[in-house]
């Protein structure tokens, strides 16, 4: 079953066509990746799904219902959680309070939200830092906090925007393990936008490649890395010798 459907979506900013007629699907329970060189339109697509921008044309369906043009909070209410590429912690609040804010989306009481938030912090190995101010966290921990907060809203689809960027390979592998576990244990569907090929290859079962705002290839990681159009956009055209 398809959870997220993006159908011929386009978006331009003052004449710059950021995304052109892009389509892809995310099946329920899968981990999908969206890759592409800088400026390919990955974050624009991401932001259209997350409700930051409305697409100029095309439609976005979540669980069969139209969500394009929703506000970010309505997208969250529909069941989509997101992280930010440039992390946005609630710096003045404690790590636990950050996650409680997310947990309050579904929990009715603060006590219930606190319990839920604590269990998520444990899952992401942040429980030892629960009472520190979020401003004191290192970058890898801030990335983890982004994920914890998004997970706390109990989403059905988790959107990850370059959550591996800036992490060391071992930290990256830890993160990959966390997502694998959550995907397997809870059936959470994940769409990740990523530069770090190591993470995408390890996680995603299905990858879409964007270039100049268009989807140029789709398939399994193995198929995609051999696709001529992908090789061309990443490495340049093969030279005739």
């Amino acid at each position: 079953m398809t959870l997220l459907q993006v159908r011929s979506v386009s978006k331009s900013f003052r004449g710059l066509q950021a995304v052109r007629d892009a389509s892809f699907e995310v099946p329920q329970g899968s981990i999908n990746g969206l890759i592409g060189p800088n400026g390919a339109g990955k974050t624009t697509i991401f932001n259209m799904v997350a409700g930051v921008y409305a697409p100029d044309s095309g439609e976005i369906l979540f669980d069969g219902k139209q969500i394009h043009g929703f506000r970010p909070d309505q997208v969250c209410a529909a069941g989509i959680g997101r992280t930010f590429q440039l992390v946005k912690p609630f710096a003045g609040l404690s790590v636990l309070d950050n996650v409680i804010v997310g947990a309050l989306h579904k929990e009715r009481t603060v006590a219930g939200a606190r319990a839920h938030a604590s269990s998520i912090l444990k899952k992401l190995n942040l429980d030892a830092k629960a009472h520190l101010p979020a401003s004191s966290l290192t970058l890898p921990d801030r990335k983890r906090l982004e994920v914890a907060r998004a997970l706390a809203t109990r989403p059905r689809l988790l959107l990850l925007d370059e959550v591996m960027a800036g992490l060391r390979p071992t930290e990256c592998d830890q993160m990959v393990q966390v997502f694998r576990d959550i995907n397997r244990a809870e059936g959470l569907t994940i769409l990740l936008i990523e530069h770090v090929m190591r993470a995408v290859m390890a996680l995603a079962r299905h990858i879409g490649v964007l270039h100049h705002g268009e989807v140029i290839a789709r398939g399994t990681p193995e198929e995609v890395v051999r696709h001529p159009a992908v090789l061309e956009c990443y490495l340049g055209e093969e030279a005739d010798v």
Partner: protein, 322 residues
């Protein structure tokens, strides 16, 4: 937590017993401190909790004062009914300002400018409202000062002191519970990062509107008190921007966003400014504007050395912790 509670109970006891030891002058200073503590707390809901800077809170004091004052002046209706009118009017004003700002994406400094603009044109409007006395002011009938007439909120200074103490304690408790509620978490999330708050499913427009309406309604109660305590109202005075600044100085000095900051800030500023006025009078130096200069210096020193206000620093020094 226990230590803090104990200190709070002792402080409350001292404040309840205070009039037994205090002379009329000390009582009036204490009433003034509580007035600023309460009003600062009301402003703090909007700025300290939800992060929306208002530099026009004199608007709500003024509208609240005139609403209850006019009912009493023209129809003899006491402040207990006037209070509701004042709160409803001010919440309405707050919602209009909030709607204009939040709907059209006016935030930060520009939002603050909008709040000043509303306070200013209300001041000018009231100058031309003859029904409310215009620039000449509105004067409430002053009855016998030694009888507690609670129904009409007329009585001796002691009554006003206890009324203000009750309001300050009530606002403190309300804010204590608000901060620990869903609303408190949502407001703080909006204050810290609005975009992230929205991504977590918070309808930021709605919750900012709630903060503005609540802050405005709470501030209007200060206005009702003002009208019945001072008994005269002038638009030039009550709506003036210096009044708005006076309101925010307490929480800024004490600690924005903290529960005890507005109370501490009000006490420190009022005592210091009265102290220096007395000192200068004793020395025979009558310099106009010295109080304002002094305020400025204290503000500067606090901002430089205690950027989060006095209370967070004192809190740690006293060994309190969460």
């Amino acid at each position: 937590m226990k230590k803090e509670l104990l200190c709070l109970v002792i402080l409350a006891g001292l404040l309840v017993a205070f009039p037994a030891f205090a002379g009329p002058y000390a009582l009036s200073v204490a009433t003034l401190i509580l007035y600023f503590a309460y009003t600062g707390q009301a402003w703090n809901v909007m700025m300290g909790f939800a992060g929306q800077l208002s530099l026009g809170h004199s608007l709500y004091v003024g509208v609240g004062a005139y609403a209850a004052g006019a009912l009493f002046f023209h129809y003899g209706i006491g402040p207990w009914a006037g209070l509701w009118l004042a709160m409803a009017l001010c919440a309405g004003f707050g919602l209009v300002i909030g709607f204009l700002a939040f709907r059209f994406g006016i935030s930060g400094v520009y939002f603050a400018l909008l709040t000043i603009a509303f306070a200013e044109f209300t001041r000018i409007g009231f100058d031309h409202l003859d029904w409310l006395g215009g620039p000449g002011g509105m004067f409430l009938r002053v009855a016998q000062r030694d009888v507690w007439d609670l129904a009409n909120f007329r009585g001796p200074p002691l009554m006003y002191y206890y009324a203000m103490l009750f309001l300050t304690a009530g606002a403190f408790l309300l804010c204590f519970f608000l901060l620990r509620s869903k609303a408190g978490y949502y407001w703080q999330a909006i204050r810290e990062n609005e975009e992230a708050a929205q991504a977590l499913g918070i309808n930021t427009f709605r919750w900012k509107m709630v903060a503005v309406a609540l802050s405005a309604a709470m501030t209007s109660v200060s206005g009702v008190f003002f009208a019945f305590y001072y008994n005269n109202l002038f638009p030039e005075q009550i709506f003036h921007i210096s009044r708005s600044i006076e309101i925010i100085l307490g929480p800024v000095i004490g600690g924005v966003g903290t529960l005890f900051g507005p109370i501490l800030g009000a006490a420190v500023l009022t005592l210091l400014s009265d102290g220096i006025t007395d000192l200068l009078a004793a020395l025979g130096w009558e310099i106009p504007g010295i109080k304002q200069v002094f305020y400025g210096i204290v503000l500067l020193v606090v901002v430089m050395f205690l950027p989060h206000g006095i209370w967070p620093a004192l809190y740690r020094r006293l060994g309190f912790h969460k």
